[in-house]
């Protein structure tokens, strides 16, 4: 349980090294196969997602049996578990990867680097390993290489970011103590089952952002029927990114004639699809990430996470 990912494998936002790293040194081990000495099993059976999900379910407290005091936390943890399993399984196509990334943005509360999103959805080698097949200039990866890459991504990036998000979220999560309300003394609380909750982390604000982003992304990936639609979308874009996308980037789809021609067409033209997805990866998801980070910052104001310098902490007994 380290404070946050540290060292060279960190992709955490809090990493202070700050410099933009080129692919080879950015995340060592990410695109390479298992580390020396690692157990490589070329004939590993396929990912048993159903079994992993059962494991996840078992680990979560049963809300029907014991009322969750912090259901929001439980919900977030469960959603994160789903995202993790999806990554381990791999993705059907690049669009599924982008849609997954959008949910990662929300469930990590912007803890990952912006570039991380562009990197794994634009780099051909990365995409081929995430999809488990040849993609663009990249050949089909060896199955165990693909598996090991996905696991590396989970361990190096996703888990530290999830951890960071929970830390931000921890104090902000509303504690459900209404069953301790003296006026309802003795009454069992209404069970809140995390899976019935509509919003990630049960926070409407976050849920709203997630939904806006999902629609924004979907519209872009589907393509627009007309130039007018594109303009209306550009306006909506500001909401789903909390104006974290630059004015230039927002206007670009319209003013860049070649780009516009790929966005405004609905037929399944492969080239158009490629451009739309790349644009989403390069501009949209990093902006989504900044928006989630901004939202988390506001939560962090309330939570005011302290890292006490002194031995002894500042452990409130109140």
């Amino acid at each position: 349980m380290t404070e946050r990912g540290s060292g060279s494998t960190s992709t955490s936002r809090k990493d202070t090294s700050g410099s933009r790293r080129d692919e080879s040194e950015a995340w060592p081990g990410m695109w390479s196969a298992a580390r020396p000495g690692g157990e490589i099993q070329p004939d590993e059976p396929p990912v048993d997602a159903a079994r992993l999900r059962r494991q996840l379910e078992k680990a979560l407290p049963d809300a029907e049996e014991e009322p969750l005091v912090r259901p929001a936390m439980a919900q977030l943890v469960q959603d994160q578990g789903d995202l993790l399993i999806e990554l381990l399984e791999g993705f059907g196509d690049r669009r599924a990867l982008l849609e997954w990334e959008q949910r990662v943005v929300i469930h990590t509360l912007g803890q990952l680097e912006d570039e991380w999103y562009a990197e794994i959805a634009c780099n051909a080698a990365a995409i081929s390993r995430l999809l488990g097949r040849e993609w663009g200039p990249a050949d089909a990866p060896e199955p165990y290489t693909a598996r090991e890459t996905r696991r590396g991504l989970a361990a190096n990036s996703l888990l530290p970011a999830f951890h960071g998000a929970l830390k931000v979220f921890r104090w902000a999560a509303v504690e459900r103590t209404d069953h301790l309300d003296d006026e309802h003394e003795g009454e069992a609380p209404e069970p809140i089952t995390p899976e019935r909750q509509e919003y990630p982390g049960m926070r409407p604000e976050l849920g709203q952002l997630a939904e806006q982003q999902r629609r924004t992304l979907e519209s872009l990936l589907d393509g627009f029927d007309s130039e007018d639609e594109l303009l209306v979308w550009s306006q909506q874009l500001q909401g789903s990114t909390y104006a974290e996308i630059s004015a230039h980037a927002a206007a670009e789809p319209y003013f860049e004639r070649p780009l516009r021609q790929y966005l405004v067409r609905t037929e399944a033209d492969e080239r158009a699809r490629f451009v739309r997805r790349s644009w989403a990866a390069e501009f949209l998801l990093p902006a989504f990430n900044r928006a989630a980070d901004a939202l988390a910052d506001r939560a962090a104001e309330v939570t005011a996470e302290e890292v006490p310098e002194r031995s002894g902490g500042s452990s409130s007994i109140s």
Binding site: M1, T2, E3, V69, R170, W171, E175, T177, L180, D182, E183, E185, G186, V307, P308, E309, R310, S311, G312, G313, S314, S315, S316, I317, S318
Partner: protein
């Protein structure tokens, strides 16, 4: 809690007006106090301590424990908050356990235990290594720090926690000079000696204001009377209750109980009435009643946990005490002798003072925990009665208001507490006096 704005006036405004000040003091009520186990007698209800914690705006201790466990240790990779990581430093003196409680925890059968204590037990059940570190019976600490370091606020938080999770009767040392317990008045049982008229006045914060007569019945939860220390401990003190006890100027039963007690000399007590009849006698200072009371609890029971919150412990048991002054040293020494059985008899002493050295060394040696408040340097070397302090350097020197270091000879950890809610604050000191004593003395 919207209570701060109930009157719509600021504390400052009210402090200037005697009528408003009295109203403020008398009208405060605790939400849902009438539904507590202490009021209804029904153990299924929440306890006065749980109610207190709620009204003070504090979180439930079970939740605090979980949060602290999830928090990081500043010095040890992968470890929890120091309060959890070093349980002997704080948890050990806060969580009071009987041998039966240890069995309850080990067996997982928490029947007959209040809700929040159950939560603590469930948590302990998952931490057998901490349970191992917890000692049974009464505990004690001496908290010291300069004026304004938040000693009283800390004491209030500790009383709330103690009552929330332990089946304890808290006894706050009532004195005519100080009333730092006043924020807790809505929960307080004021315990007065039988058969004496009393008057209650609020000494306002400003010098140019006269004392304000107070309706004590309206101000506190209830007023009860006691006959002598033994009867007080057995029949009057209530498990889970917060008591502010005022000494008996007649010292009824005090000399007798010390005479009968093992291993201590008889302590003499002279009341103002006796002194008035015999010119050779001097009345014993009223606060010396406390020695007889504490000895009585340890010697004669009952087995119930009793926590004595002793504000200004350094005044009651000063280092420079001599026998010249009403056998002061002998009384301290008698309590020390009896104190070896305090832990076993579920007697806890929470002392508060300005400096560690103010407290008489006979007692200091017996008290197992220290709390060093902000603004006072913690020791790093040899201490009186504790061997070496475990701290390698000074931690408390740069602590903020509301922070302190709790330590014993093995471990230390920092902790902090929140301010008392505004609606519970009352400027000035409440004095409870017995006019008959004044009359006898001046006669």
């Amino acid at each position: 809690m919207s209570k701060t704005t109930e009157s719509g006036r600021s504390l400052l405004e009210e402090a200037r007006d005697p009528d408003l000040l009295r109203e403020r003091l008398e009208s405060r009520t605790a939400d849902n106090l009438e539904h507590t186990e202490q009021e209804t007698g029904d153990p299924r209800n929440h306890t006065l301590g749980e109610n207190l914690v709620r009204n003070l705006g504090m979180r439930r201790w079970g939740n605090v424990l979980k949060d602290l466990e999830a928090a990081d240790h500043p010095g040890i990779e992968g470890a929890s908050d120091p309060l959890i990581e070093h349980p002997r430093a704080f948890l050990d003196h806060l969580i009071k356990l009987t041998p039966l409680d240890k069995i309850r925890i080990e067996s997982g059968d928490h029947e007959g235990v209040s809700r929040e204590r159950r939560a603590v037990f469930s948590w302990l059940e998952e931490h057998p290594e901490i349970v191992q570190d917890m000692r049974l019976g009464g505990t004690d600490w001496f908290a010291y720090g300069p004026k304004g370091s938040g000693k009283s606020t800390m004491a209030i938080s500790m009383v709330a926690r103690d009552l929330e999770i332990n089946p304890t009767a808290v006894v706050w040392r009532g004195s005519s000079a100080r009333s730092e317990w006043l924020p807790l008045a809505p929960w307080a049982t004021v315990v007065l000696p039988q058969g004496l008229k009393y008057e209650a006045v609020l000494d306002p914060p400003a010098d140019d204001m006269d004392s304000i007569p107070i309706d004590l019945e309206r101000t506190v939860r209830k007023i009860v009377r006691y006959e002598d220390p033994i009867q007080l401990n057995h029949d009057v003190l209530e498990e889970g209750g917060f008591h502010v006890v005022y000494p008996d100027p007649r010292f009824r039963g005090c000399s007798e109980l010390t005479e009968r007690a093992d291993e201590i000399p008889e302590l003499e007590h002279v009341s103002a009435w006796e002194a008035a009849e015999d010119p050779d006698l001097e009345p014993t200072p009223m606060e010396f009643w406390w020695f007889a009371w504490a000895i009585s609890k340890i010697e004669y029971g009952p087995p119930m946990f009793v926590t004595w919150t002793c504000d200004e412990a350094g005044n009651l048991m000063p280092e420079h005490a001599s026998n010249e002054y009403h056998g002061h040293h002998r009384r301290i020494s008698a309590l020390r002798n009896k104190y070896v059985d305090a832990r076993r008899n579920n007697f806890s002493l929470n002392g508060i003072g300005h400096e560690l050295e103010d407290l008489h060394h006979l007692l200091r040696k017996k008290i197992r925990w220290r709390i060093t408040l902000n603004g006072m340097d913690n020791p790093t070397g040899q201490t009186v009665g504790m061997g070496e302090a475990p701290m390698p350097r000074n931690y408390t020197g740069d602590l903020q208001l509301g922070e302190a270091l709790s330590w014993n000879k093995q471990q230390f950890c920092q902790f902090s507490w929140s301010d008392t809610p505004e609606w519970l604050k009352v400027p000035g000191q409440l004095q409870i006096r017995f006019p008959e004593v004044q009359e006898v003395r001046s006669a």
